[in-house]
Symmetry: C3
Subunit: 267 residues, 3 copies
């Protein structure tokens, strides 16, 4: 049983390691795979992309455990979402938004009330800031050890973000930057399924960037090697979303693109 | 058998991976969990906190392997410390200090002399800078494979740091910043057990920060969500130590707090 | 069966995690060990060092999977290199250069043509930028699951880099900086086997640095602790290459040393 871990805890602290220890204590056979622990602090929109882009490549039965939790200590809910024999456990803050947009069969539950109360009762009295360790890691480990049915409560509607949507109008698709990767490649919420011209990759289309350096217009190419080194391009990324990059360069810095900046595709 | 790994080797080099390879060669069944490899270079005080804060959450039998080793190549000792059916193998440079303060039953040994000589004899003649690979990883793997008794030598008193202590006087507890986490949260050496008023969380107390931006006074809250975004607070962290944070901000940068800066709690 | 992973994908994105998911789907028993994912983007020379310096410490049978792939989407080849019962799968761009220099028995193949075509046919039609996920991870997993013979095609001569070589002339060895580690230690392509005076460590030799701060001359010491804090030194590193460091400091920054800068050893 694989547990895939996604947090904004970074890697300079033992937070992720402690979660793995808690999981190993409850379910020693769990195989833990890190997605990343370097989501920009509190950036749920970015977590939403990372979760979705990983989802389809994990084996059936995988439990995703996502802890980007700006609301820790408040009364935000603990969510369990299930689709295609995979599941994700996360604070209910929009992390499942992109998954929800792309997988219409996602079913969402609160975590079981009595189990949560039990977990809260057994943590140190002073601990209100590390639900990843005290609540979410045990939930995932119990699900891995004895099944999802032991951790789900009532069905609920999840919190959803609007930033991860795309808007289709005649001849245009607009979206936003939802993740910036290590290379500075800026991934947008515009998906190849949003357009009809799949077979042509919309290679005659224009991409307008409404970032802090307005007026940039790019063409859609097949891959980096289709443009010169240092040149900007748009292309359909490995998860089917429109990405903006500079070959062997950092598009986010060079084009001044940030999370949530608007991008428009004119067909 | 879990081996929990803690170093200042960073993650841009293969040093940690090579240690895992050496461990896997000797004890293929060992399950290795990373605490962190991003301790600030040579900052044993920070390692001491990371080790202690992780200790209680790992299953019985876990072997911690900590290699923050500014003294590599000198004659500093190789230490094996044991408590509560868990153990840690580390250069003898103060890494066990906080564990020693909180767990009075810690027993400390040198690594066995003849085993160390054997390991030194079998490494390349020119290699004097990577004891993590050549000495510490084999020690941990041999302990995991055939028991701690095969690696311990005579009992010794460990090197201890004074920075991780707290000083209790009438109506006051003083301590120092012992770790700064990814979010800039600054963890101090003042522990909730240092005060009598546990049930009230000392919420009427004042916290004085003697950092590079003197004169800051904070109140102790329950969690981030009790203050406004951008506001500073003190709170009892997830390991019971007093932490200083800014909600959705970086306290270390905003309050100019560094490792070893003094903090005082006035009850 | 161990698969050792080496990329320039960084750790802020799920790219490495997705590769692990693909591997786990094909070969669930594979034990994956990260070397690093923080090779400087596209810096094959650095990858070449990381691969070589790790090679000898991994158990027999280990499959290394290296994806530093500036040529993704072009027609660069997929390479499988075999030596000493270990193997590496990588884009054919020079990653095996240092291994090839030090291990004369390295045999190199293209990946099998029909298998590659099969893998290309089964990926999403728009995906041309993530061969790590679509081609290289499956190749490694199939090799781990059913043997190298299932993934190799015809023998080929690998692409080789000249930067990782050393040049021996009478009384001199010249080389280049091939990796800069987390501490700023600058590892050169000059190997202890390049000189005859092994037993003396060439301790009377002079090391000339032709970096951006010319004219630096260093002596070769045994280890950091042989010089004062803040002082620069040269020494034979843990893989036998000449390294330049500053004790408790960052040599790359302080001596202005970058990748490919020239270094000369005068005996």
């Amino acid at each position: 049983m694989i547990i895939a871990l996604l947090t904004d805890f970074g890697t300079k602290d033992p937070y992720a390691g402690i979660m793995k220890a808690v999981i190993s204590g409850i379910c020693p056979e769990a195989k833990i795979i890190d997605l990343t622990h370097e989501i920009e602090p509190y950036e749920v929109v970015s977590a939403s992309y990372v979760l979705y882009s990983s989802w389809n490549y994990f084996p059936t039965g995988t439990i995703f455990l996502s802890v980007i939790d700006p609301g820790v200590g408040s009364n935000r809910r603990e969510l369990v979402a299930v689709s295609q024999s995979k599941s994700v456990i996360t604070p209910d803050n929009g992390t499942v938004s992109l998954l929800y947009r792309m997988n219409k069969d996602l079913i969402t539950y609160r975590a079981g009330k009595s189990l949560l109360e039990e977990l809260k009762a057994s943590r140190p009295a002073y601990s209100h800031t590390f639900d990843g360790r005290d609540l979410f890691a045990p939930l995932a480990a119990i699900a891995a050890e004895s099944g999802l049915s032991n951790i789900v409560g009532e069905r609920v509607e999840p919190v959803l973000l609007t930033e991860i949507e795309s808007k289709i109008t005649e001849g245009r698709v607009s979206g936003r930057v939802i993740h910036i990767d290590r290379f500075g490649n800026s991934i947008t919420s515009i998906h190849i399924e949003d357009i009809k011209e799949k077979n042509t990759y919309a290679s005659r289309a224009s991409v307008f960037i409404y970032g802090r350096k307005k007026g940039q217009i790019l063409k859609i190419h097949r891959s980096f090697s289709d443009v010169k080194i240092g040149e900007a391009l748009a292309y359909w990324g490995s998860s089917g979303f429109l990405e903006i990059a500079v070959r062997n360069g950092n598009a986010s810095q060079l084009l001044k693109l940030g999370l949530r900046d608007m991008v428009e595709l004119e067909l």
